[in-house]
């Protein structure tokens, strides 16, 4: 007989037709089926010893069916007569038939008569229907299903190859492998040898009996000695293994599902915590930094202000860029988190008060507002202080000249010399005083200039204005005193004039010419030492031209000098001719040697002035070089950044190639930008040189360092944001199984309505897009309500726009949720053995420690009436995972 033909649905009358059964197989079947029946009958506290005898009255047969089906059969007839027995057996056969099994060839009489073949056939039908039929793996027949189960479970075991239910099991290794696969603790599989079939079979059967509660149904000797073991016996026994292990398998699947769901929650919570932490750090930094930027005061000194500019440069180059990166990372991880939550069917994440993305954007905006104009302010402050410094120097210089002049004038004016001198001497003294008066008048302008400079220093808030004011006050006071003293002396001299008349005229001419010349010399000295501040070659050129003009007047002055000295020499010559050794010129205080000395000073100062002007010219030319150096580089870097920005922006819009291609391209951009960084650093160095040389304008480029820094940061941010977007799209695409073609179709639809290429749709655009795709959104209040509902799905944060990623998710949303509270609840129910609560002990036993503790910490005590101590409520826990609760 072909043992593979016995699919009971097709071959109900095989037993009858065959009429014979291999005696060895019959012996095996009797043993196996008896043991199988007893493995169930023991639950009802009974057993059979002889299979063809003990079912004859139908009573134990009915009991067996009740145990294995869990259903109640009609009450058996208690009588001992043959017809009672037949009635009972028929009740059993009717029950089997009611389970959809045709029993064409098996009659009650033959069972009652103890027909072995019929009895074995009937038991096999029962085994098939109740122990094997339910094994359905991938919609195969029951037998193929059981075979496939064996093959899958033994696949990792190289010396086992299950092809059938007879010879494949003969060496016992298949049984051992099945046990080892599920309970590796029960036997040491690798020590087993194919050559010891008896040993292997005994080991498997012993272990199964002792630890798995599967009675011995097969006889190792029979298995080994028969040419081909009985297939039905082997199937009956193997099916017991299946049932013993499938319970564990179900629990394992349930535990896996719970783990998967919990891992999603744990990861999401981790991302939320990370977001909160990053947000706090960033906000702290912004809160700390903003006041510094808002503080627009300096210590009013040049070095202090310069130091502040250095600090700002450090802030702008070293401190702010990593924070901007952090901000971008924060926004991106927020988007990723929301995508993950949406994909895993969880409620959207709401950051704690004050830490929303918009809060961070606002704080950042506040920072940038505070920063705006800071550098310009500092530079203008520097310019102001530099000018002030220069003015103060000028002030001091003028003061020095004036004080030098004023030195001893008070004593001179208070001198009583005119009371003990000759008439001539008095006349001289008077003339001398007149000359002094004109000198005094000539100095009026200088004093006024000094006062004007002091006033300007006050107006410009010079830091050491106290000293300036004190000195100015001293000069003014002295000036007033000199005026008073001069007029007093004038009166005294006038008083004496009537008495003293004689006038020495010899010196008169000298005095008349020497005084203005001396004055001119003082002026020339002042001009030659004049301080200047220029910012361009043109300005220094103008100063040079003025100096050249001055030099042209020198020959004329030389003539005048020689003429004046000639007069003095004439006096000397005349006085010597009449023997006077010492003749004072009464009309002037200007001595010829003073003039000569000053004249020589002026002639020496001319080339010095030439040198100063020349140095300044070189400095201005160098500044020009620095401007050109910065401009040349900036004019390359600027357009490069602009081009990169355009290229990055067009990647998402052009959608050439797959998402991975786009991602790849974006990573290449990222790399290119990173490699380009040295150019920015180079520019920063040029810019620093420019700033340190006090250059404030550059007409060779319209780029400033700041515009380039901003462009550079925009580029970095744009790349990072695009990478994140594409990654989120990949995440969505892979979790939904969207093809590349579909992806492109979605992208085309989206882009078509993204009129301003902002890479997100405004509600109006999104609505038009949905309508074009066939959505029925009416132009009435119902349509508005429908659309508002859709918006609350695609934009849970009320950001006011729809990203491509959210659009994609919405369009591919499945009607049946793949991951719901119900499924998690069902899985816990399996672990809990159908109870409405679970215990910490079960959780620790079924789940990995991490997940088990996660559950135990969060589950509330179960409060139902059937509660036991330590019972936990897995139902409210499951709904809470999805932001829901049962009431």
């Amino acid at each position: 007989m072909d043992a593979f033909e016995d699919d009971y649905m097709d071959q109900p009358d095989e037993w009858d037709r065959e009429g014979l059964l291999d005696p060895a197989w019959e012996k095996q079947q009797k043993k196996t089926f008896t043991a199988w029946c007893n493995s169930h009958l023991r639950k009802a506290g009974t057993q059979i010893e002889n299979i063809e005898e003990d079912f004859r009255n139908g009573l134990k047969l009915m009991l067996l069916l009740e145990v294995i089906s869990g259903e109640q059969l009609p009450k058996p007839d208690r009588g001992k007569m043959r017809f009672h027995k037949i009635a009972n057996v028929n009740k059993a056969l009717d029950f089997i038939a009611s389970k959809g099994v045709k029993l064409v060839s098996i009659g009650a009489e033959e069972i009652v008569d103890g027909n072995v073949k019929m009895t074995l056939g009937m038991i096999w039908t029962i085994i098939l229907r109740f122990a094997i039929q339910d094994i359905t793996v991938e919609e195969l027949t029951a037998k193929e299903g059981l075979l496939l189960w064996c093959q899958r479970k033994t696949a990792p075991y190289k010396n086992v190859n299950v092809q059938n239910f007879h010879l494949s099991f003969k060496d016992g290794l298949a049984f051992c492998a099945l046990i080892h696969r599920h309970r590796p603790d029960l036997l040491d599989y690798h020590k087993l040898k194919k050559e010891n079939p008896l040993e292997n079979l005994n080991l498997a059967f012993d272990v199964a009996e002792k630890y798995l509660d599967i009675p011995r149904m097969l006889d190792p000797e029979d298995m080994v000695n028969s040419a081909k073991p009985d297939e039905r016996s082997v199937m009956a026994y193997v099916s017991s293994y299946y049932h013993a292990f499938s319970g564990a398998q179900q629990a394992e699947t349930a535990a896996n599902r719970i783990c998967k769901v919990l891992k999603v929650n744990q990861e999401n919570e981790r991302l939320m915590e990370e977001y909160e932490r990053l947000a706090s750090d960033l906000l702290d930094w912004i809160r700390k930094t903003t006041p510094w930027l808002e503080n627009r005061t300096t210590d009013n000194t040049l070095p202090g202000t310069q130091r502040k500019l250095d600090e700002f440069r450090d802030y702008r180059r070293k401190q702010k860029p990593p924070k901007l990166e952090e901000k971008a990372r924060l926004e991106n991880s927020f988007n990723t988190l929301q995508t993950r939550l949406r994909l895993s069917n969880r409620p959207a994440y709401l950051p704690t008060e004050g830490k929303m993305v918009s809060d961070i954007a606002n704080a950042w905006k506040g920072l940038e507002t505070a920063e705006k104009g800071f550098e310009e302010w500092l530079l203008s402050e520097l310019q102001r202080l530099e000018r002030l410094d220069h003015l103060a120097q000028k002030f001091r210089h003028r003061c020095e000249i004036h004080e030098e002049w004023a030195e001893g004038k008070e004593e001179m004016l208070q001198s009583k010399d005119f009371k003990s001198c000759s008439l001539n001497e008095l006349k001289a003294i008077k003339k001398k005083h007149e000359a002094f008066e004109s000198d005094l008048a000539a100095h009026q302008d200088r004093v006024e200039q000094i006062a004007a400079i002091a006033q300007e220093l006050n107006a410009l808030d010079y830091h050491d204005v106290a000293a300036v004011n004190a000195r100015c006050q001293r000069i003014c006071d002295q000036w007033d005193k000199l005026g008073t003293l001069t007029s007093k002396r004038r009166q005294a001299l006038d008083e004496a004039e009537r008495i003293l008349e004689k006038i020495d005229t010899l010196h008169l001419d000298y005095a008349k010419r020497a005084a203005p010349f001396n004055n001119w010399l003082d002026g020339a000295k002042e001009d030659l030492m004049d301080m200047f501040i220029v910012h361009s070659t043109e300005e220094i050129q103008a100063l040079g031209d003025a100096h050249e003009q001055f030099k042209n007047t020198l020959p004329e002055a030389d003539k005048e000098f020689n003429a004046i000295i000639g007069l003095a020499n004439e006096v000397t010559r005349l006085s010597q001719s009449i023997g006077i050794t010492k003749v004072e010129n009464p009309y002037t205080t200007v001595h010829p040697q003073d003039l000569a000395h000053k004249w020589s000073d002026v002639k020496q100062m001319v080339p010095m002035r030439d040198k100063v002007l020349q140095d300044e010219m070189i400095k201005q030319q160098n500044n020009e070089r620095l401007r050109r150096q910065f401009a040349a580089k900036a004019n390359v870097v600027g357009p490069w950044i602009e081009n990169q920005l355009d290229a990055v922006a067009s990647i998402g819009i052009q959608m050439k190639g797959s998402l991975e291609d786009q991602l790849n391209k974006l990573h290449q951009f990222d790399k290119a930008v990173l490699q380009y960084k040295p150019n920015m650093d180079e520019l920063e160095r040029y810019n620093q040189e420019v700033q340190e040389s006090m250059i404030f304008e550059n007409r060779y480029t319209h780029y400033t360092m700041e515009t380039l820094r901003v462009g550079w940061e925009q580029l970095l941010t744009a790349i990072a944001r695009n990478i994140n977007e594409v990654e989120n799209q990949i995440l969505t695409r892979d979790s939904k199984g969207i093809s590349e073609d579909q992806m492109n179709e979605f992208r085309l639809s989206f882009n078509h309505f993204d009129k301003n290429r902002s890479r997100r749709l405004e509600p109006k655009e999104f609505k038009a897009c949905l309508v074009s795709l066939g959505y029925n959104i009416r132009e009435d209040r119902q349509g508005d309500a429908d659309f508002q509902r859709i918006m609350s799905i695609v934009d849970p944060n009320h950001s006011g726009y729809v990203t491509f990623d959210a659009f994609l998710d919405f369009m591919t949303r499945e009607t049946a949720d793949t991951d719901t509270a119900e499924q998690v609840m069902q899985s816990f129910k399996i672990l809990a053995g159908d109870k409405p609560f679970i215990t910490a002990q079960i959780l620790r036993q079924e789940l990995p420690p991490d997940q088990a503790e996660y559950c135990i910490q969060r589950m509330a005590p179960y409060t139902g009436r059937d509660s036991v101590p330590g019972a936990l409520d897995y139902m409210s826990f499951s709904t809470a995972l999805y932001g829901e609760s049962d009431l």
């Binding site: 409620p347 179709e745 639809s749 066939g774 859709i790 709904t879 932001g883 049962d886 009431l887």
Partner: protein, 109 residues
Amino acid sequence: MAAPSVINIQRNHTQEPWGFRLSGGRDFRLQLQVKKVQPGTPAEGLLHAGDAILAIGGTNAQNLTHMQAHQLIRSAGNLLQLTVLKGHFGDLGSVKPKGPVKFSPWRHS
């Protein structure tokens, strides 16, 4: 949009569940709503999946967190009064396109 309706649900004792699942709340930025209704419970036939909850008793539900709403409903005694918007969060089936999505309609026009 339909007008809000006031629903009164009664139960026999305070331990008996009302028989519906609540979702949403201010903390989830989602309006409070009925997620599902268990058959054979006081809520059956009165509440339906997708009903938006506007008020619980005399309390405006707009600004309640999930847990606040949960506690209010739990401690409502044996009579629960809810103001709901029927079917506000029903499935979007009526809006969805019939048949497969037609891509890029502008290409054909």
